[in-house]
Symmetry: C2
Subunit: 270 residues, 2 copies
Amino acid sequence: MAAQRGQRNGVGDTPPAPTAAEITTPIPRVAEVPAARDRARAIPEAAVARLAVYLRVLSGMQEQGAGTVSSEELAVAAGVNSAKLRKDLSYIGSYGTRGVGYEVVVLIEEIERILGLTRKHSVAVVGIGNLGHALANYGGFPGRGFPVTALFDVDPDLVGVPVGGIPVDHIDDIPRVCAEREVSIGVIATPPPAAQAVCDRLVEAGVQCILNFAPVVLQVPDHVEVRKVDLAVELQVLSFHVARRADDAAQGDGVAGMGPDLQVNGMVVS
Amino acid sequence: MAAQRGQRNGVGDTPPAPTAAEITTPIPRVAEVPAARDRARAIPEAAVARLAVYLRVLSGMQEQGAGTVSSEELAVAAGVNSAKLRKDLSYIGSYGTRGVGYEVVVLIEEIERILGLTRKHSVAVVGIGNLGHALANYGGFPGRGFPVTALFDVDPDLVGVPVGGIPVDHIDDIPRVCAEREVSIGVIATPPPAAQAVCDRLVEAGVQCILNFAPVVLQVPDHVEVRKVDLAVELQVLSFHVARRADDAAQGDGVAGMGPDLQVNGMVVS
DNA sequence: CCAACTTTGTGCACACGTTCACAAGCGGTA
DNA sequence: TACCGCTTGTGAACGTGTGCACAAAGTTGG
Ligand SMILES: NC(=O)c1ccc[n+]([C@@H]2O[C@H](COP(=O)([O-])OP(=O)(O)OC[C@H]3O[C@@H](n4cnc5c(N)ncnc54)[C@H](O)[C@@H]3O)[C@@H](O)[C@H]2O)c1
Ligand SMILES: NC(=O)c1ccc[n+]([C@@H]2O[C@H](COP(=O)([O-])OP(=O)(O)OC[C@H]3O[C@@H](n4cnc5c(N)ncnc54)[C@H](O)[C@@H]3O)[C@@H](O)[C@H]2O)c1
């Protein structure tokens, strides 16, 4: 019976103290980032994900030699509306110049700081099958501050074999290897039945972040952050939209004719 | 001007009628899906994604021979709170029995119907590199109603080679092959610079849903639905949480001692 | 130095999503 | 039949996120 509320009970909610941020901040540090640290707590999850996107776009702009961007330009490039972009940026501070825009370099620095990218985050992949191989071979992570430093599998044929330049270790070595290489993010790419066990091992080894590709709901302690990538769910959501659209069309409403704007792209720059 | 964010603009809003459900619901139902279709429109995006998860969990329960589930059981298994689960289910209709729970079979049927899974959705993968191979070889999709029926690449060495049992076609054949095999979902797994061009080709070929793995913001017409899977963003969001947590620890604030409850994992089953 | 113009940063209202809490409905039992 | 305990379904409160619209702040040109 009963104690079911567990989830919200122990986790999500700010338990008793609504204070959170407006406390006087009793001089935790004289060093830089004075108020910014406090702000970090208040950044909406959705905004964090977008900041990562802005960062990527900004990097591209920097390579093309752009010195400054306006919120409008950046917004268009990132596929969001400019008000939202400015609000997102405001969560991390005020680094723009009114009448001008933002300095690309400054914005990159600040976003990286807020996202914790000033530090390298060592990544371990567990389950070196189809997906694990793809991840291990992918060159895009190290460049963005996420070096893949450890690979694990149970298959004895795989252990010792290097994949993407890194030899596969046996999962029994998770504790030792993760400690040695200071792994901070674990990626689970095992079959679903093995996922929870692997997750438990990673957590025991001190890994605090998990990216899970197995279609399973993982149970973890409060101090561990899990994000899941579930391709089947993505496909099903797409399927839902097709179905909804089909229904709309079947109903034969006036919108069907799609007069409003031709099919160039969903975004209007003006 | 204006139509900038096709995504939200065209869809989400409940136009005029707040009626929705509080009508007396006369005549529960004899003919199917009369009102249900209307409801489909009102299902929050977030709920749709969760319905897909419930569906997976229910399938597992069905295989284990379960006949009925209570919202509480299902909620725990799906990792959500039971009120949310019931609300989500209520969007698709009332298929439970008070005092008892839901019939697993019925729930599966209804969710599949709402998600449009009664129809098969043919999938095409474009870009048969690391990731494309993994996707093509993955056996989990066909079983869930998403048969991968076409593969495309530009690399002449790949064209004609079968991957996961399906021969790779050249991207110039996208229009023909997609039409022949009635592809309804396109998966983009090409390098970022090629993504937009590939997307345009798919759209031109009549594909209405795109799942994009390339870290690029795709521009599409309003009638095309795009979902993106951006692993770099996932990792960066995790990084953000590590950083935030590190800050919290550094601040050594009083919240640490809170001790409302220890609880090993977020969920209490009793 | 001022006026005109540009762009940021944000208060505010609204939309969306989550959670609570309870009446309504059902099965079982006396 | 009448009662009782259990579980659903949902109105309503609440919290989060989005977008508008504008004052503040800067730049440019005269
Ligand atoms: N491949 C895809 O495109 C794809 C798509 C969606 C979801 N997924 C999910 O990702 C996961 C991996 O998929 P895959 O196609 O790479 O599977 P796979 O079978 O190719 O690889 C699984 C790997 O995990 C290893 N393994 C098994 N048990 C293990 C354990 N206890 N500890 C460590 N390693 C173990 C196996 O030896 C194997 O190398 C699955 O959960 C799958 O559902 C994969
Ligand atoms: N591999 C991963 O784990 C991973 C992780 C995150 C993101 N991604 C993204 O997924 C995409 C694919 O990654 P990958 O590792 O498989 O890359 P890859 O280089 O291994 O494969 C890319 C494939 O696309 C093909 N290609 C190139 N241009 C094409 C075009 N115009 N039309 C069709 N095909 C074309 C290439 O021939 C190649 O086979 C990239 O955008 C990458 O950023 C991959």
